[in-house]
Symmetry: D2
Subunit: 363 residues, 4 copies
Amino acid sequence: MTATSPSPPEEPSHDPDTAPVRVAILGASGYTGAELMRLLLRHPGVQITTLTGERQAGRPVAEVFPHLASFGLPDLVKMEQVDWANVDFVFCALPHGTTQDVIAALPKTIKVCDLSADFRLANVETYAKWYGHAHKAPDLQREAVYGLSELNRTGVQNARLVANPGCYPTSAQLPLIPLLLAGQVEAQEIIIDAKSGVSGAGRDAKQANLFGEVAEGIHPYGIASHRHAPEIEQGLSLAAGEPLLVAFTPHLMPMSRGILATTYVRLKGGATAADLRATLAETYAKEPFVKVLPEGIAPQTRHVRGSNLCLMNVFADRLPGRAIIVSAIDNLVKGASGQAIQNMNIMLGFDETAGLEVVPVYP
Amino acid sequence: MTATSPSPPEEPSHDPDTAPVRVAILGASGYTGAELMRLLLRHPGVQITTLTGERQAGRPVAEVFPHLASFGLPDLVKMEQVDWANVDFVFCALPHGTTQDVIAALPKTIKVCDLSADFRLANVETYAKWYGHAHKAPDLQREAVYGLSELNRTGVQNARLVANPGCYPTSAQLPLIPLLLAGQVEAQEIIIDAKSGVSGAGRDAKQANLFGEVAEGIHPYGIASHRHAPEIEQGLSLAAGEPLLVAFTPHLMPMSRGILATTYVRLKGGATAADLRATLAETYAKEPFVKVLPEGIAPQTRHVRGSNLCLMNVFADRLPGRAIIVSAIDNLVKGASGQAIQNMNIMLGFDETAGLEVVPVYP
Amino acid sequence: MTATSPSPPEEPSHDPDTAPVRVAILGASGYTGAELMRLLLRHPGVQITTLTGERQAGRPVAEVFPHLASFGLPDLVKMEQVDWANVDFVFCALPHGTTQDVIAALPKTIKVCDLSADFRLANVETYAKWYGHAHKAPDLQREAVYGLSELNRTGVQNARLVANPGCYPTSAQLPLIPLLLAGQVEAQEIIIDAKSGVSGAGRDAKQANLFGEVAEGIHPYGIASHRHAPEIEQGLSLAAGEPLLVAFTPHLMPMSRGILATTYVRLKGGATAADLRATLAETYAKEPFVKVLPEGIAPQTRHVRGSNLCLMNVFADRLPGRAIIVSAIDNLVKGASGQAIQNMNIMLGFDETAGLEVVPVYP
Amino acid sequence: MTATSPSPPEEPSHDPDTAPVRVAILGASGYTGAELMRLLLRHPGVQITTLTGERQAGRPVAEVFPHLASFGLPDLVKMEQVDWANVDFVFCALPHGTTQDVIAALPKTIKVCDLSADFRLANVETYAKWYGHAHKAPDLQREAVYGLSELNRTGVQNARLVANPGCYPTSAQLPLIPLLLAGQVEAQEIIIDAKSGVSGAGRDAKQANLFGEVAEGIHPYGIASHRHAPEIEQGLSLAAGEPLLVAFTPHLMPMSRGILATTYVRLKGGATAADLRATLAETYAKEPFVKVLPEGIAPQTRHVRGSNLCLMNVFADRLPGRAIIVSAIDNLVKGASGQAIQNMNIMLGFDETAGLEVVPVYP
């Protein structure tokens, strides 16, 4: 990832009068697949022509996602049934681990945004350690560009394969990378306490995600062992210019969408919480999706629901020399499908906000 | 209300190249106000120029509705501060009972869609009986057109003042009016069991609507005494050609948005459940927002969340000679602000779906 | 079922100074199993000595139900490992259809309360029709007593095998049976609109019961085809003295516990809603668990959460000659495990409220 | 607070054959009042004889808390109507700030457990700073004993006035005090990230606590400025033997009950996470309400719902030399009314678990 490339592209290179980009969504039967459909249906420059789902092949979208019944989407098919000659761009929303072979087998002329974790870790040894098997497409891994849109625009612009960031890593890195680049926070002592809605766990039937198991409660999981930790560390290490580890504790809570990250940092080089806020405000001043809230106002996940927004703010801590950073995203939008579309827009020269001008839904 | 006017207008008369329609939202600090803003922000032909809120006057939208902070909306003002010369269209989202004086005082050149209950009951005596005081603007009441969009297009098209239907009445009347017109259901025995999310109760601080009081439970309220009963009866009586009463039992349940109406009817004239389904399918065949689901599929409020859709279906009952009708809307959209915008679109000659092409948000 | 046996037993025959009754819960890894444990742990006369769970065998309760970790319960075992000589009473909480063989194989000296649907339908042909296979233990079926505790005490008292009523049937029959016996409602036109929390669907991993699929929405299911319909009809037919069908529409809504039944009836023989209320008030005057609320107060499921209570009330309808009955229970307590313990108490001569003196948990 | 007094009293001094203790609950119309009633109704040694509620005076409990309707509780009265000669023990559940005058005016023969914040801060200057006015009863403040039951039994035993700890402070101090006493964590760098259900905000009608405002979201509040911070600091400073500050960030989330505290600490003196776990396990080995979970198992608020339990555990952090402590309570029970009853039990010589043998309600 190049350090920063903060300016949104001024002149989209895609000609809106040309034929729409033909999009395939691989693994369309999960929540991120549905969310890609919801947003792409209102994208002025694309047409969803292919939806795959191995187990759901042959079924209409109306059965798999009744809320999308009335929008004229194609039926789901098996991957082997796809005629790739009719596909210009692929969103890959397959389960982690299954993606490497699939993308390796695609025609090289097709640009890809992969929403799985398969290409996020640049170091294939780190991948092997955290995912329990050797990476199956190390060449592709070298080619893949990490798609934290606002902070890696140039990289994404030139990429054929973008690894879309994880939901937690997006919420954590957007505020932390600029602060590490500015040298305002200690690199070796970052504590990220994150709270997520249940959709982040996917749509597969698991007892742990039943309504009765999730409602009216909260608990941490994957303490010190969640796979998003090395992804966060990768981005922060690069920004800090030194290898670092983070404390990262995700919590599951009774809401469908949203991630809130409360991050505890030690200030560095005499910086104050106000300085941190100023750095973020400056970094994101022209960004359509990343907003630093007025002083003293805490981000709420409710206020980004359904949108591609990331809200953030910085607060002085009672502990001297420390600050508290709060960031909020919709895990399915900025934390997955929204950012994926943002990356597609950058890759294809669309206006970066195309299809993403969704106002949050509240209440 | 004229009986039916089912065809959507083919040629919008509004010229999209002209200046945008300048819209005022009176009473913008409630949930329907926020929802008007959310949807109108993406309407291609209007601009929100005025927001009023007596108690919130002087505050920016960012404070009243933080989820709308980043969309450049004007600050809230008092009604007395509004320069009506700069307003082309008014959405009135004031509390019930306070609206009559306000609308009576508006310049007659301004078209109005009123989301309150003040002008819904054509009979001012019925109004007086249910609302406990004489109607303050009986002349306006005579002028007002009931805005059940799909079933009263011609009326709405020619109206200066539209009374936007209540949420429950919308969910109940959309399936029942065509069936009564078709003479397929008994008029005198209609039983409507409705379930609503909490946003229908508004945003005012009331103990009964606290999270702790609403979560993990359900209860009926206003049994045989809810003010939406006479509104439903008014529309159904007209369709049936005879005065009728309905059993109407609303329930409050722990969700923010959505109304599900489960309606129990006695079949008439040899009609079957399949006949009823066919009638509705035909009535709404070309409608963009009203969808009759495939046989056997039950509507769910989740599948319309955030959208202007109404889903419906008909099922044979175990009791011989009876059928069960199920309809689902988002109470804040098709049940309030969405239908209000649909009515504005009809009144002003916009494409009827303008600003309403919102895909449901799920999960 | 005998028509009524309304008086609670005055003199418990169980000697509290004797050794505790040794209880086995078969199928202890589901929600009704957990609820049996929660309540029996505070029962003064029993000891839980055996818990079975075929898939969970070998695991401690702490792993299967962490909320029960600190109460000294035995580990789960396979059914084949149970030494029946050490078991005095069995609660059978196995899945529907699997119970018949299991109970048939138990020593005849053990009394049984079965929480499944296997022995609820007295007519084995009705069973075969609704469950898709011939009943495997028709002799046992003839022996089984339907355990709607308040209305069948004598039967339960003398039973060796009690079929514990379903959750919906409990909520519907408790108000309707006395009214049919009193001849105050028309038998052939009963409409039951029921709303249930998700725990009624069990703890197995099913996509439809994921948090994301259930939250923020409501929908009906099994319209005119739910297996609880024949169970309700069986009880009501007996009370009415004539065969009858009911309209029964269950709805799934986002709460973990609770059933609300809103029942629409036609009045008979000049009865008024007040008469119905009086009948119910008289029927249940001395009952510890069934409460008729003051006039005009609607039952809420929140107000019975965690308790064995059934709240009910009757309201005049707007439709002349009709009334609306509302009843609320906790589906896991009065609708399952609580009533099962109540039946055990009756069968064994305990005080009927033993272990059930649980105050509702609110909020 | 004396440092520790870990052994539960072996021989209760209260004679269960004597007349029940007559209990008054002042301010009974809030959630903590209701919870006191729920639990005390099953306490073998007390009788609730007096309930006060200034605004609700004259109303029966059935109207204020319908879930408690059927338990024979007295009507609410005004404070001035109470005959203190008939009261042996007072629970004071009045709003913060109003309690000092009330308790000062009570007969000195009555023992009191105060659930407000009024007597929690031993230093009246700290009180004045955080609550904005001088303490009105500094003498009483000196007399008051901080009722963190497990860690201050001797103090509570001899107290006439117990200041019941706040909900957040209970969840944070129970794990941290033993660790500071053992010198195993750095005192000056404690970071507490806490998540609370909505009932902690009380039952007063506030827009911020409406269902629509709380559901489907999470946000922090009172960052670095919450009044529970000085209460936590008071207890931890005493245990550490040095003044300290804490980072304390509470979050509001969509559940009715429960607090989860995730606490980040730096290890001291070579201690490991396992050492911390061992310290807590030893400290609470014999406690009926405080449980250290098996290694690797994270506490969940769901697993304590409705009970007086506190679950806790310690995890190694990815950051070297650090550990993560997780603790869970029901804010209305161990965080308020349950601990208050526990304190009453200690003060009056009851068995400490009397009235508190409530098994958690799950799901």
